[in-house]
Symmetry: C2
Subunit: 340 residues, 2 copies
DNA sequence: ATCGTAGTTGACAGCGCTGTCTGATTACGT
DNA sequence: ACGTAATCAGACAGCGCTGTCAACTACGAT
């Protein structure tokens, strides 16, 4: 029944017009402190909550932020949602989640109707949809602001948040080198994720900077999945000639490497060091626990939401805003000194 | 710009009134086939999409389904979202996700404003919020229909979907008994989750039905987290006297058990069998892979969405609808015959 | 031809807000 | 005292739809 309370009730109760109530609600200027207090008291007394549909129909805001993703790592997408919600709720915004099938050929049909009906105030995109040209084009056509998290291509096309994937991979590689490793295997991430390339690049540069050469057969293509990591590790680790460490581009694949090591009775980290990337919950769930890179996922999503809520925009000829957050090397038990 | 197209444009283009367009859109009866076709052609030609705010302001539907959760296992909540979305999208509905902090003392303030502003058509609740009295009361007061997934208490208070947790635990226990285990440890799940009790119960009944007694020190309290499973397993497995198998009430805890076994150099499954529950992605990510129970999480969420979309309701004195879906015992490598 | 009935369509009034514009009040300089 | 500008408040018109109700059509039964 409290559902029936409208702005008119509040106006009557506080003896002002509905417009003034609206002003107070929206923190508009030019309301006397005294009037504002009366209205706020009435709002509290009646437990009035503005109807979001009416607001967005009449005004220019929908109070809705979208999160688009595809085939996510569950831990990743949950963190994104939590991080975004935290900011949105303060401002009375809500989160619409929309999984997309970005490999389907009807991506346009998945996105366009949704944008037109919902008229969201902004959208947060995660990989791989943040690099999907059709999605970006649809967003732009419908003039819906969006922020990409860790995009891989076309970096200056929109606002974005992320971290320095290249540097993080560089530092992880350096960590392994400092432990004495000279022969390190690397598993590349999914080719559709922009970060994959950057992490690979960081690895290669760290090796080169240390005067180490990377044999081509030490680099395997993976797809960010446990299975792909497992299979890559099988290729990397069977046969007498194997690296002393493997750096996988994400934790799921690193877990696959650990499984193969277990199966081959290679002790981690004594015989083989394993490093991952992301610090997913799974990283702490293996024994030994995984050395990895912590991505501030929730913080990145929060920053993205922030940009959207504050009306991200940039001038003609200017670069769109971008924000890089700090990562953290998390050294646990899966990496150790190379056996002598 | 396609954003500007309204129902009036469609009406003009097809030479009918906006009301008739509305009828076609909502599949209302009593529209001549010929007229319907003309309207549909115009809709397609103009790429018209009804504005959801206007619809919900004018009508009784909001085209919004909520998902409330707290402190979720990421895999679980992602599955719920995916399962619910799949059904919602067919009907033009969207998903609002709202994480709740059910341990805070302002639960009412988290829920009530949201319900009043959004006026969702229905809400899907997962554990533990599905058993939170304040949340349920708020939903009922605001007259928002809701369906609970695997509630633990007050079963006939609302529509619900779930699976037979008791039976699943019963069968898993029987599986262990058939492998020759007589001395089985059990780790109870989080006390706030209704399923915890049922799984515990199924375990106890299976043991009793097989004429086996359960020593009190073989049953440990856990909280569904890896850490709690780890700690419970330490108590269960250190000291000379230990069970030959451990059945944990969920996979995360089972993973904790595996980690302890690894650390204690107990071979799984030769020396110790480990069973989990849920079949989370993590179950396949350990070596050996976990024997567990597959919950049809996405299907349960889909069924819940279905009920909401079809207007779940029940008569006075009738029991609310409930739907139990089938589980599946997934026997992998972490359970084996007891050592002789 | 008349009536009844079901089928089909449209006019119109809101839903609960915000944006715009106009009017009333106050503050302050001369 | 008055004028002018700033400040504050309200009237009112929609936003784009759906619900209600009235009207009109077609057609078989009387």
């Amino acid at each position: 029944m409290s559902s029936k309370i409208t702005i008119h009730d509040v106006a009557r109760q506080s003896g002002v017009s509905i417009k003034t109530v609206s002003r107070v609600l929206n923190r508009e200027p030019n309301v006397k402190a005294d009037t504002r207090d009366r209205v706020q008291a009435a709002v509290a007394a009646l437990r009035y909550r503005p109807n979001i549909s009416a607001r967005s129909l009449a005004g220019s805001k929908a109070y809705l932020i979208g999160v688009f993703f595809d085939n996510p790592s569950p831990g990743y997408i949950t963190d994104v949602q939590l991080g975004a919600i935290a900011r949105c709720r303060e401002e009375g915004y809500h989160l619409i989640v929309e999984p997309l099938d970005s490999t389907a050929d009807n991506v346009e049909d998945q996105v366009a109707p949704m944008l037109a009906t919902l008229r969201m105030d902004g959208v947060i995109l995660t990989a791989p949809v943040c690099d999907h040209p059709v999605v970006l084009a649809a967003l732009e056509r419908e003039e819906v602001p969006y922020v990409r998290i860790s995009p891989g291509s076309d970096l200056d096309r929109s606002a974005r948040v992320g971290m320095d994937d290249r540097l993080a991979a560089y530092e992880m590689t350096k960590h392994l080198i400092e432990l004495g490793h000279r022969d390190i295997g690397f598993i590349i991430g999914h080719p559709d994720h922009g970060a994959s390339h950057l992490r690979h690049q960081g690895f290669m540069e760290a090796m080169a900077d240390s005067g180490l050469t990377v044999r081509p057969e030490r680099v395997e293509q993976g797809y960010f999945s446990f299975r792909s990591g497992f299979e890559a590790a099988e290729r990397l680790l069977t046969g007498g000639d194997r690296p002393t460490a493997v750096f996988a581009s994400n934790d799921d694949m690193a877990l696959g490497v650990m499984a193969v090591a277990n199966r081959l009775r290679l002790n981690v980290p004594e015989t083989l060091s394993v490093a991952g990337f992301d610090d997913t919950p799974g990283a702490k769930v293996v024994w030994p626990q995984l050395t990895t890179v912590r991505q501030p996922i929730a913080a990145m999503a929060g920053a993205a939401a922030d940009m959207l809520l504050n009306g991200v925009s940039w001038g003609e000829g200017e670069l769109p805003p971008s924000k890089l957050l700090d990562f953290e090397l998390v050294v646990r038990e899966s990496t150790g000194p190379v056996a002598v």
